[in-house]
């Protein structure tokens, strides 16, 4: 008979924490409300930096063959083509440049013509590493599909939670998640990160992760509701959040480690995707589950019916596990 081999271990989160998370709801709710309003303002007045997936146009990633790229010269050459707005941006190393040409008036063929002009103007000084042309028709479709997709995902998840829990939980989770998405969109507007198809993927993943977190806490709350029939809701929520705290922290550290690896080594192509994920999953998602998703259940009336029923039938013994 042997004992568990003794390995020096780190204790990330002390056992039996007793933080009064619920008290913070008087701060977290107004703060979240303000931030959400700010995010919505940003979205409407600052806008998103829509990539060509959604507004159409032409994008080229080129690499200068002879040392660092001369942005000013390229800007002058391409600006003189009469193609409207041409954006140039350093992308990765000093040789790499990202060129974005606005959508051309005149339908699908005009985009091809613009690409040909840009190619010709760039000549043999650069290697074209990537080129994308998205016509007006496709960009409109992608935007519509993506919006519908996000709504559909939220709705489908809501239905699932409604089946698995009570409706208050589903509603609470939805409020929490819409809050996450709104803040993330606000972040994207503030930083003017490219908003393209992969941003939709990021938003959906944030939605999934954040729900994952919320569900873990809700699962615990449901269990506690069955176990402690007479405990006041804020206390019960505090116990639930505290008892899942170490899991939340350890999990988020690992996810953050994985994301950091992607951010540092994944290259430029996925940079905006990963940055958005870090913001959404790590910063917002965690905060939301603890400070919004859990306490909002108090306002949605979870547990009140239970206490009243108990009081009406005082003879019944509360079940113990």
């Amino acid at each position: 008979m042997r004992l568990h081999p003794s390995i020096p271990l780190m204790r990330i989160v002390p056992d039996d924490t007793k933080f009064d998370f619920m008290r913070f709801r008087r701060i977290s709710f107004p703060v979240s409300a303000l931030l959400s309003i700010a995010a919505i303002f940003l979205y409407f007045f600052h806008g998103l930096n829509f990539g060509i997936d959604f507004i159409g146009g032409t994008l080229l990633e080129v690499q200068s063959k002879s040392g660092p790229a001369d942005l000013a010269k390229m800007r002058a050459t391409l600006g003189g083509l009469g193609l409207g707005e041409v954006q140039l941006q350093q992308f990765g190393g000093p040789e790499d440049v990202l060129i974005r040409v606005a959508q051309q008036p005149g339908g699908e063929e005009a985009q091809q013509a613009a690409l040909a002009k840009v190619r010709q103007a760039l000549g043999n000084d650069v290697d074209i590493r990537r080129e994308e042309v998205v016509g007006p028709r496709v960009s409109k479709e992608l935007l519509a599909y993506s919006t519908v997709g996000l709504m559909l995902a939220i709705f489908a998840i809501l239905i699932y939670l409604w089946f698995r829990f009570e409706w208050q939980f589903a509603l609470g989770a939805m409020i929490a998640n819409v809050h996450d998405l709104v803040l993330t969109i606000g972040y994207m507007s503030l930083t003017q990160i490219d908003f393209d198809l992969s941003s939709i993927a990021a938003l959906l993943t944030i939605l999934g992760y954040s729900l994952n977190d919320t569900v873990v806490i809700y699962d615990r709350i449901r269990e506690m509701l069955r176990r402690y029939k007479r405990m006041a809701m804020p206390d019960l929520l505090n116990i639930s959040v505290n008892s899942t705290l170490s899991r939340s922290i350890i999990t988020h550290v690992t996810v953050t480690l994985a994301l950091l690896a992607l951010l540092l080594f994944g290259g430029h192509a996925i940079h905006s995707f990963v940055a958005t994920m870090i913001f959404g999953v790590v910063l917002v998602g965690t905060y939301t589950s603890v400070f919004i998703a859990a306490p909002i259940l108090i306002y949605l009336g979870v547990g009140t019916a239970r206490v009243e029923a108990e009081e009406r039938v005082p003879a019944q013994q509360p079940a113990r596990t």
Binding site: L161, L204, L207, Y209, D219, L264
Partner: protein, 535 residues
């Protein structure tokens, strides 16, 4: 709960082993794998963003389809009226979506009866069942209106796409590109993907050309200048030359002597006298007969070779051409002669196609992405493993083994499905590592809690698993819903992300429910711990 029967254990290990086994071909060079039996050849296909290549989405021009359909209807109406011997008040004309013909009031009933066969019931496609190809109505005042129905246009579009896919396939293959994929997408689109092709300019030129070839006589009843100033004769029209030809105007008869459908072969070559690039062609029997007839009757007159409403060249007929073969010269370059030959051999597209989306990744960038993706994955995995072992000790090792097998299974399933791995797909795998670790964390934390509430180690492990698994299932199903939605709305790379995330969730739930439990059960059986130290 902790007791797992031998059979169950064997089934679990076998499942995991077989899943991982399917990943094996990915580690061998393609040449080696090709010698293996067919069932063992399944492997992950690298997406165009990773191996480099061109993705071109084309759409059939709906207006072109409509115009053609209306023109055919107009011709049909003209023919039916002529065969019926009815005098027309006004010849059939295209008005919007319909063809209108005016007959004398007394002839209306007879005309309607004759025209009725033009309206055919459509095939049994869902949604178009019961619909007819043409609606025929008596608009009063002798006007008969024939309208092409939407289902008929839709069906025609479907046919056009099917034919286009075939023709594009022939053209692309003739260009000698490796492993092109040409697929219908939706109702009116064709997706062309060519791995490894970094510059699709030539390809787009070849697949974007309709290549409708006609041989027509030049109308010499008046000069072009005259026709430009006044009106061309009713049976003739003005057609301009191609850019290589100098955009000169020509007055051509509308009647087509022979069209490209009657070609049996076309090859690029060089003119024996001038040495300039040409395309030589051969007609089929009926084409050769028609061409011989017309050239015999019109010696000394010029005729024009017209490609997609542009005159390529307009040589003079020096002598009757009876052999059914000839050559086209028109200031070609070697390349353009070659392309024209390809186009003529493959046949004309039934309607115009427009490029609506184009995404091209150079091979260098793809290789960079693979390397960066690999580096990030290895580094991410290493960080996670170190952190887990740091936190959970031996249980951290268990978790790492489970996550490792999990990733092996993801690759196995991806290989089995011959799925496409894209850069976002790699991100999906890295995120799966996060989710997979979470399932272990949930289990271990739960066990710790149970230990603290005073259970014996084995009891605590048992209860920990039971309780954590319910949570794991709930939280993973919600993420899975998000992945499923992404799969259905996403295209290309984003879909690749959804696939790996979705598969990752399934394998994560599998490993959490079975493998992790099995490993812990074995350890408990071996170590018989009286005290648990997962801290």
């Amino acid at each position: 709960m902790l007791y797992i029967s031998k059979w169950k254990a064997a089934a679990i290990l076998l499942t995991a082993f077989v899943c991982c086994l399917f990943a094996v071909p990915n580690f061998f060079p393609e040449k080696t794998v090709q010698q293996w039996p067919a069932w063992a050849q399944r492997h992950v296909v690298l997406g165009l963003d990773l191996q480099g290549g061109s993705h071109i989405l084309l759409q059939v021009d709906a207006n072109d389809v409509r115009r053609q359909k209306l023109q055919t209807l107009q011709d049909d109406v003209r023919r039916v009226m002529r065969e019926a011997g009815l005098r027309l008040v006004r010849a059939p004309a295209i008005r919007g979506n319909s063809v209108e013909v005016i007959v004398r009031d007394t002839d209306v009933q007879q005309a309607l009866a004759k025209l009725r066969p033009l309206s055919e019931p459509l095939g049994g496609f869902i949604g178009s069942a019961g619909a007819r190809s043409v609606n025929i109505e008596n608009a009063g005042g002798g006007v008969i209106r024939l309208t092409v129905t939407e289902p008929a246009l839709l069906e025609r579009t479907r046919q056009v796409v099917d034919q286009s896919v075939e023709i594009i396939e022939r053209r692309v293959n003739a260009m000698g590109l490796v492993e092109p994929s040409i697929q219908r997408q939706g109702i009116d689109r064709v997706l062309v993907q060519v791995p490894g092709l970094g510059n699709p300019e030539e390809l787009i030129k070849v697949i974007g050309t309709t290549a409708k070839l006609t041989f027509r006589l030049v109308d010499t009843s008046m000069t072009v200048e005259q026709a430009l100033k006044e009106h061309p004769p009713p049976d003739s029209e003005i057609v301009y030359g191609s850019a290589a030809e100098g955009r000169r105007p020509y007055l051509l008869e509308k009647r087509v002597i022979v069209s490209g459908e009657e070609l049996t072969n076309a090859q690029p070559g060089y003119d024996q006298r001038t040495g300039e690039p040409i395309v030589s062609f051969k007609f089929n029997t009926s084409g050769a007969r028609k061409f011989a007839q017309v050239t015999t009757d019109n010696v000394g007159r010029p005729f024009a070779i017209v490609l997609d409403d542009e005159v390529i060249s307009a040589p003079v007929i020096r002598e009757p051409i009876r052999g059914g073969s000839g050559q086209i010269s028109g200031n070609f370059t070697v390349e353009s002669a070659n392309n024209l030959a390809i186009l003529l051999r493959a046949g004309a597209l039934p309607a115009k196609l427009t490029v609506i989306e184009q995404r091209v990744v150079g091979a260098g960038l793809g290789q960079d992405s693979i390397e960066k993706g690999k580096l990030a994955s290895y580094f991410g995995a290493a960080l996670v493993v170190v952190f887990m072992i740091f936190t959970y000790g031996l249980f951290g090792v268990f978790a790492s083994i489970a996550v490792g097998i999990n990733i092996g299974m993801i690759f196995g399933i991806l290989s089995f499905l011959n799925a496409t791995l894209t850069l976002p797909g790699i991100i999906g795998i890295v995120l799966t590592i996060g989710i997979a670790v979470d399932s272990n964390v949930l289990i271990y934390e739960r066990i710790r809690e149970e230990v603290r509430s005073g259970r014996t180690p084995i009891n605590a492990i048992d209860a920990g698993f039971t309780r954590a698994l319910a949570t794991i299932l709930d939280s993973n199903i919600t993420t899975f819903i998000a992945a499923a939605v992404l799969f259905f709305i996403g295209t290309g790379p984003v879909r690749g992300f959804a696939v790996t995330l979705g598969i990752g969730i399934v394998t994560t739930v599998f490993t959490a429910f079975t493998l992790t439990r099995l490993i812990v059960a074995w350890w408990v059986g071996w170590a018989r711990p009286r005290q648990l130290a997962i801290s």
